[in-house]
């Protein structure tokens, strides 16, 4: 487990299987015209560089902070929403 995964492992999530709340609109944009800041700014490391030079997004560990939405503003390449009511992260302490 990576350091971040170890951290996220402590958290409680209710996963809405099959309906991720954040979506990359056009993967080609990530590949060709972006410095990919999401891969080092997301506190849950949801964005990972892939072998084809693009970025893979897995929202399971998402902390719903909103950072990726801010930094992808200039590219406008994210469809960012909250998870369905009651789903996603449930902080025990916060």
């Amino acid at each position: 487990m990576s350091k971040v995964e170890e951290k996220l492992f402590q958290n409680r999530y209710l996963l809405d299987e099959g309906s991720p709340h954040i979506r990359i609109k056009n993967p080609a944009v990530c590949k060709t015209s972006c410095a990919q800041p999401c891969t080092f700014c997301c506190p849950a490391a949801c964005y990972v560089k892939n072998e084809e030079g693009g970025v893979d997004l897995t929202t399971d560990g998402c902390l719903e902070c909103g950072t990726c939405r801010l930094i992808c503003q200039s590219n406008g390449n994210l469809e960012w929403d909250y998870p369905r009511g009651g789903f996603g992260i449930s902080f025990k302490f916060g």
Partner: protein, 433 residues
């Protein structure tokens, strides 16, 4: 639901619960909607609660609210890679009958606050995301659309207490998208220890607490701050930087937090603890100049959605509660007078906010965000110089004290230049004025 409420409050953080509580208590029909599984499930704070704002809403809160420790000591630490230099303030006067600040745990606090809202007569529904505002042909807000089936609900006014991201205010065109240079991202962990261990380690009594604020070279010249707060049986530790700074690379939120935890001055404080949660959250830090319009036809913004945070003093939850209360009081007064919550009538909320400490304090510090952006070296240079100075003065190595003083002055001058130093002092003073 065909019922029309006097007011709908979106969000069950401190702003939303303050607003819903005050209106429900005055007999208005109130619906509060929260997307989390329970109030607080999505919320993150340090967290220090300032008593005054809550006391004005629930005077007896000390007997009921889940408070952790009242703060008797504040420490400000400037960290370099290997050292810290600090300023502590501790006073037995903080052990007063009604302490002015407490550490809290938000998930527990928000749940409690919302039970008060329910007891006051409001309808609270969790597990529900408000997807959009409903408007009539004139553009007046008349209710909300939720992610539940048949989820359109009508109300006389909608109070947006949906926090820093407020996608609702953004989508409705009331506010621009957040700007990474004016928004901080903080990563935080909860570390559990036995209460006796915490008390011994921090030199405090059973209910007493310590609050640390940390700045220094850790953030590598980026605008950032850390904190350590003691709870009854846990320690909250967190650190953050501006999103725009993270974006430039060289730092990750979790990497920064791990570096803080590994710092030689911090590590012993956490030794033997069990980490039970990792969280992250944004803070709106644009200050006074970034506050959007806070009201319009049938709607008001309160708390973080309006950017009401004084980041210099780490105050946000109090401003959230006060703005929620003022918005609620506006609605109550209009209802009494039989008037609609129109743009013109809701202007009263803005005046009340302007007259309160919320806007007065935000105005006072309006220069601060700009100062910090233009003067990033205060986060690295000063901690380093201070630490060097302390080390030079305290080391017994055969050099006389006068020569040591000269060394220190020389280091300060060389690194920043006399004009630079004086300039910083003036700019800093201005920003604080």
């Amino acid at each position: 639901m065909t019922e029309k409420f006097d007011a709908i409050v979106v969000g069950a953080g401190p702003a939303g619960s303050a607003a819903a509580y005050v209106m429900a208590k005055a007999g208005l029909s109130v619906l509060q909607l929260e997307r989390g599984e329970y109030p607080g499930a999505k919320n993150v704070q340090g967290a220090i609660l300032y008593s005054d704002a809550l006391e004005r809403i629930i005077p007896e809160f000390r007997d009921e609210a889940p408070l952790e420790r009242h703060i008797v000591e504040q420490r400000v630490w400037m960290l370099t890679d290997k050292s810290h230099i600090g300023l502590d303030y501790r006073s037995d006067e903080f052990n007063e009958e009604k302490p002015d600040r407490y550490s809290i745990i938000r998930a527990q606090f928000d749940r409690w606050f919302c039970t008060k809202v329910k007891a006051a007569g409001a309808l609270v529904i969790c597990d529900t995301v408000v997807k959009a505002l409903l408007k009539d042909a004139q553009g007046r807000v008349i209710g909300v659309k939720t992610d539940r089936e048949g989820g359109d609900i009508l109300a006389g006014v909608v109070i947006l207490a949906d926090g820093v991201n407020s996608t609702l205010a953004r989508d409705a065109g009331y506010r621009a998208e957040l700007d990474g240079d004016n928004t901080a991202l903080v990563a935080k962990e909860m570390h559990f220890l036995r209460p006796e261990v915490i008390q011994n380690r921090f030199n405090i009594g059973e209910k007493e607490g310590v609050a640390f604020e940390l700045v220094g070279t850790l953030t590598k010249g980026k605008i950032g701050m850390g904190f350590i707060y003691t709870n009854l049986e846990s320690i909250s530790i967190g650190i953050g930087c501006m999103v725009g700074d993270f974006e430039k690379g060289g730092l990750t939120p979790y990497g920064l937090l791990d570096e803080l935890k590994a710092h030689p001055s911090v590590k012993p404080l956490l030794a033997g603890s069990e980490m039970k949660e990792y969280s992250a959250h944004l803070i709106p830090e644009g200050g006074y100049k970034a506050i959007p319009k806070v009201y319009g036809d049938g709607w008001m913004l309160v708390g973080d959605s309006a950017g009401l945070v004084n980041s210099i003093h780490r105050e946000g939850s109090n401003m959230a509660m006060t703005s929620g209360q003022l918005a609620a009081e506006t609605v109550i007064a209009l209802k009494k007078e039989g008037k609609a919550c129109s743009t013109q009538n809701l202007a009263r909320y803005k005046s009340a906010l302007d007259d309160s400490y919320v806007i007065k304090d935000m105005k006072k510090y309006q220069g601060m965000p700009g100062f910090l952006h233009g003067n990033r070296h205060v986060f690295t240079l000063y901690p380093e110089l201070m630490s060097q100075a302390a080390s030079t003065m305290l080391r017994v190595d055969g050099l006389d004290k006068k020569s040591k003083e000269k060394q220190v002055t020389k280091a300060f001058r060389e690194k920043r230049g006399l004009f630079g130093l004086v300039g910083d002092a003036i700019k800093f003073a201005r920003a604080f004025r």
